[in-house]
């Protein structure tokens, strides 16, 4: 912990002294120094346990959960999500798919989980599961399917949502994430409309956030984007957030999965 505080202090100093040095460089250095201790490891271990543990009203594990590559296949699943699932008739991302499995296999109430605040109860378990599952695809390349018409429709909807200006400030996702080499304050902003930004940005979540000591899944990441955009509250696993996931994931095709990452 002392090491973390020291490194953070150094980042503070270095950004103050060299404003031109990109925040990404500093964070990359920081990440390098934390190689042996990304706190995401703890969530990863918890997620793996949760996958194998018999839980819920049906006292079953998630080991038969189909994340898109067949029942129980975890490795490589995340770099192909969101995708269309015939059993639910919907395009689902990792987190919403996990809730489906928790409902179908373990007997949990999916609607209740979706309504639970982030970081609480079964929601924190969904985050831990997503952390482990994404880690199992670490280093693999994004390769989302666009073969089903529903997947293509969600891409187009995601694109429309990405450029939609609204709220009190007329902000769209594109306001901050539609150009190369821009930053907000000192924070570099990935261009999410194409690679490398889309793969880097989308491929980093779930991530451990140093600033608040929390593990954030992609759903919470998008939720907080919309909060800062001054939009109303996007529901967990909503079609809007999944469509944005399809848009960014398809744009990030060929980009490397780095989750679970560590963020400022």
């Amino acid at each position: 912990m002392k090491k973390i505080a020291l490194v953070l202090g150094l980042i503070g100093l270095s950004t103050a002294a060299f404003a031109q040095k990109s925040a990404t460089d500093s964070i990359a250095e920081y990440r390098q120094m934390l190689q042996d201790g990304n706190p995401a490891d703890l969530f990863e271990a918890k997620g793996e346990d949760l996958w194998k543990q018999k839980r819920g009203p049906k006292n079953a594990s998630l080991e038969k959960c189909d994340l898109g590559k067949g029942a129980g296949v975890v490795k490589g699943a995340w770099v192909e999500l969101p995708r269309y699932f015939a059993d639910t008739g919907r395009v689902q991302d990792l987190e919403s798919r996990l809730v489906t499995c928790m409902q179908e296999l373990q007997g949990f109430n999916g609607e209740e989980i979706a309504k639970t605040p982030f970081g609480k109860g079964e929601q924190s378990n969904v985050t831990a599961l997503a952390t482990w599952i994404s880690a199992e695809s670490k280093g693999m390349k994004f390769n989302l399917s666009q073969s089903h018409v529903e997947e293509r429709k969600m891409y187009e909807v995601g694109k429309r949502l990405f450029f939609m200006r609204g709220g009190s400030h007329d902000f769209a996702c594109a306001t901050c994430h539609g150009q190369d080499d821009k930053r907000i304050r000192l924070q570099d902003l990935p261009n999410l409309t194409k690679n490398p930004g889309a793969g880097n940005g989308f491929g980093a979540w779930p991530a451990y956030r140093v600033s608040n000591g929390q593990m954030w899944g992609a759903q919470l990441r998008l939720n907080d984007c919309y909060r800062q955009q001054r939009f109303p509250y996007p529901l967990f696993g909503s079609e809007a957030t999944i469509a944005l996931g399809v848009y960014m994931g398809v744009n990030g095709k060929g980009g490397e999965a780095t989750a679970p990452a560590i963020k400022r």
């Binding site: 909807v157 450029f163 200006r165 007329d170 000192l186 001054r230």
Partner: protein, 217 residues
């Protein structure tokens, strides 16, 4: 067993046929689908009510242009600018500049209007998120142009003078409603959308135009 197999097979055929037969909807249908999905995907929280999703014609036109990469027709741009120009009102007391120190506070603050902000809290201008302003603040964004030396570069030595009037009025209008000058500017419409009060805008004006402001040193 045989019956089960044939049901499974016919389900598979139906699924295949559906997948093949379902064509991509038209762009207009996708616009409609996006609106439907918006309606199902959000809930009101705190001061962030669902009306914030309501389509605004200026935003709809600009978003479509951003998405398709096709620049707006010059006539349409001019119409957007004219609509937004009508919303700009000169200060009631005729005074355009307030206190630059207070303006710096407005420029620094990114607070306000989110669902975690109290509705009666003081909003910030988020200025440093996108612009360099004073030389002392190193933590500035690059989404907008640098505003360092804003008044000095434009030759404003006395903001109350007749020579300074056009730039003072333009700056006032730009902060009130940036879309009056650039149809699809990314800058929030601080006055028009009620993000900043008239007094706050006067203070930001002073930060940019007062020769005594650190911005013009």
């Amino acid at each position: 067993m045989k019956r089960q197999y044939s049901i499974a097979l016919s389900t598979a055929i139906v699924a295949m046929l559906t997948a093949c037969a379902a064509p991509m909807p038209t762009s207009a249908d996708l616009d409609k689908l996006t609106q439907d999905i918006l309606g199902r995907s959000f809930r009101a929280e705190g001061q962030a009510k669902l009306d914030r999703l309501n389509p605004d014609e200026d935003n709809r036109l600009c978003a479509e242009s951003d998405r398709t990469g096709v620049a707006l027709d010059a006539k349409v741009s001019a119409e957007i600018e004219a609509r937004n120009m009508k919303t700009i009102k000169a200060p009631a007391d005729g005074k355009y500049l307030g206190d630059f120190k207070e303006g710096e506070k407005v420029a620094q603050s990114g607070a306000g209007k989110t669902w975690t902000d109290k509705a009666d809290s003081v909003n910030g201008g988020n200025c440093y998120n996108c612009h360099q302003i004073s030389k002392e603040e190193l933590s500035y964004g690059t989404l907008g142009p640098s505003l360092y030396n804003y008044g000095k570069i434009r030759g404003v030595t006395n903001p109350n003078s007749a020579e300074s009037k056009p730039i003072v009025e333009y700056t006032w209008g730009k902060i009130q409603n940036a879309r009056a000058y650039n149809a699809c500017s990314n800058m929030p419409r601080f006055g028009h959308k009620g993000v900043l009060t008239e007094a706050q805008i006067k203070n930001v004006m002073a930060l940019l135009l007062d020769p005594a402001s650190p911005v013009n040193k």
